[in-house]
Subunit: 214 residues, 2 copies
DNA sequence: GTCTATATGAAGATAGAC
DNA sequence: GTCTATCTTCATATAGAC
């Protein structure tokens, strides 16, 4: 143990503390309604300390979003290929929905969308850390399967995009707070159906989509 | 002409005026940053007049959202069935994207999502006027085609949902402000691909999806 | 119903001591 | 670096005359 540990939280710990408080307050109230006072109180530090570390409300918000996106990336990055294409798709889809449907992630999306006009770059950051990342993994996988002759995929990018889209319907409803909420069984039906759709048009010998004539 | 027309705008006109000003200000700034002063100025009336007509900022916001949703419904309600299933799907999809991708509609979605926590019922209103309405029309259409033997659709609701989902990917990107923006040609590719996917799994004689054994 | 003027309260940011 | 106390600004909502 280094000496400063005994005295008070180290700087990094303190910033983490403030970020985590900022997350709770911003996600509950939105950018404008959230106050620096509330964030400082929740972190157990003075307002001035918050300003010392993050400069302004805007910078604090951006830092909070970036840290949330980093978390998403970390979770989605776990290996995906399971050999069997059908199982691989299913597993990717399940992981995506589980992640994105967490109340905290839904709240992050909402508050982020509300502030897109003021923080345009945060939209890109979120997109890359979530939907685009999954889409990239998936497109890469589909392309590999196509090269190896296990699947027939004329446009892997587009197919991956629309696979994500078919699942994102669940997200949209959750985001809008549509009742009744979708239960896990229903989510599974959406995953099954999406996987089934993709599988039936990519099965070798049944090239029915444009761009890849039999 | 009735006498009061000559003097000043009628009450209904005045409310329309305020609503339209509210829309512009709310959509540009979001709920909290928008000020009653700005709305009153833009409408060319005094702030007190705004309060007389709409009671509070919250009620004004809700009224603005409701009027925006009513517009969407009006546009999407135009007849859809064109006989040929493929053409019908394409036309429905095109109409949906054209509507939803309008900058004003994107802004409405964004600001609405940002305020879902404070106005839960507005999420339902929006959903019913947009995605759910299209989904309903589409599901009904698919079911009819299934009954008549032109298509094989085991679960029309789910299929309709995921058709909307495949198109909504375009929406998601636009909402997040992802650059470069999608051009009309690219949108058309998404529509084509989604229609192609649905058509290939619903063509009679190739029942490859679960729930509808041949 | 409409206007001008104002009271009230709150939030972002800073000053100055330790 | 951290804290307490304060400054400045601004938006909601109301009061009172026409």
């Amino acid at each position: 143990m280094s000496p400063e540990c005994a005295k008070r939280p180290a700087i990094l710990e303190r910033e983490t503390l403030i970020l985590s408080a900022a997350r709770r307050v911003f996600l509950e109230l939105g950018f404008v309604s959230a106050t620096m006072d509330a964030i400082a109180d929740m972190a157990g530090v003075s307002k001035q300390t918050v300003y010392n570390h993050f400069g302004s409300k805007e910078e604090l918000f951006a830092s909070m979003v970036r840290s949330g996106c980093k978390e998403i990336l970390t979770v989605l990055q776990m290996g995906a290929d399971r050999g069997d294409p059908e199982q691989t798709l299913r597993s990717m889809g399940r992981r995506f929905l589980e992640m994105a449907l967490q109340p905290e992630k839904l709240a992050l999306r909402r508050v982020l969308l509300g502030e897109i006009a003021q923080f345009p770059e945060l939209g890109q950051i979120y997109y890359r850390s979530g939907p685009a990342f999954l889409r990239g993994q998936l497109a890469e996988y589909l392309e590999k399967q196509d090269r190896n002759g296990f699947l027939v995929v004329a446009d892997p990018q587009l197919m991956a995009d629309q696979f994500v889209g078919m699942l994102s319907v669940c997200l949209m409803k959750a985001e809008l707070g549509i009742k009744p909420e979708m239960n896990p069984d229903e989510r599974e039906r959406y995953i099954d159906h999406a996987v089934g759709l993709v599988m039936s048009v990519t099965r070798p010998g049944t090239a029915t989509l444009p761009g890849k004539p039999g």
